[in-house]
Assembly symmetry: C2
Homo-oligomer: 194 residues x 2
């Protein structure tokens, strides 16, 4: 048993893992409860509903991700170094929190109307961090970019897609992935080298 965490955290962790494997709709509260050794009724002491579990997972993940990416670029002046730092943080956070980021990235359609509004707004804010950096990069260089919005989405899509196939014990190291992705993105958006 995972004694280091509160029951609430253990429920969220178990839920995120099942949401990733089966999807939100297909994962049942009985499975979530059973995964951490409690009964489904007990979940309602910690969460209001199944929807509430999903929302809290997505909300906390988006908030944390946004805050560490913002923090990571705050002292950097060079646009290119900002871009590298943002990609680096994004990828490392995704790899360290595969279950949570997978839910945050793919389960928007499972949110109810009220929660959807909140998450969409936070997502936009996160995407804007990257969009701003890309605009900075391109204003100071010969650029290949046709559309910054498209580029931002393509970039994030590519980096986020890691959650779908990356395996910690696989053949590729995290550093390999970050370097290759940065190379990919950098050369894709700018004629400048280095």
């Amino acid at each position: 048993m995972d004694d280091k965490k509160t029951t609430k955290e253990r429920i969220a962790r178990g839920a995120a893992s099942l949401f990733r494997k089966q999807g939100y709709a297909a994962a049942t509260l009985r499975q979530i409860a059973s995964a951490i050794g409690i009964k489904s009724g007990s979940i309602y002491y910690h969460f209001d509903s199944k929807q509430d579990i999903l929302f809290q997972i997505m909300d906390s993940t988006l908030c944390e991700l946004t805050s560490i990416v913002e923090e990571g670029i705050t002292k950097i002046e060079s646009p290119l170094q900002k871009l590298y730092a943002a990609i680096d943080t994004h990828i490392r956070y995704h790899i360290d929190n595969l279950d949570y980021t997978y839910a945050a990235d793919t389960e928007i359609r499972s949110l109810n109307e009220e929660n959807l509004k909140i998450i969409i707004a936070k997502r936009k804010r996160y995407e804007n961090i990257f969009k701003e950096i890309i605009i900075e990069v391109t204003t100071n260089s010969t650029t290949r970019i046709i559309n910054t919005k498209l580029t931002t989405l393509a970039l994030l899509q590519m980096c986020t897609g890691l959650s779908l196939w990356f395996q910690k014990d696989g053949e590729l190291s995290i550093q390999d992935v970050i370097d290759q992705y940065y190379q990919f993105v950098m050369s894709g958006i700018s004629d400048n080298e280095k």
Copy 2:
């Protein structure tokens, strides 16, 4: 009513649309039936089960996509032109069949064991088309590629991600998207220009 198609095709079409909006598990047979103006019991005359609908959608989509991409590159000699043609076909097919490709790209986890094997194998085959092209491109040029598998997955992830946000009536034309994506990919994997 869509008189041009058989009922079976209309069911598949309605199902794919709902699978995209809500996910396979959350979409009900009653919703699918209602979307095309029949009752849920009637579906079983055309399909064995809900799982069968999903499988046939994914299988036919993967088969068709594979065949038109293969056909599109068959007469092309230049590796770079092959890459462009493959990306072009992939993106156009995705945009023309958003509901079907979305299911094929995201609902693997909803397949049962038997169907999973079949789809995984066809997916691998499709990915290999791109991997082979990337290997061809990189053997004839100064390359930035660390790992062809990673590059293939990043490329496909990026192009496939279109299904998540692209809107036909949006500000971006299909040609814009294809050009930017090809630029992105090309410069990402090779030092050669054009």
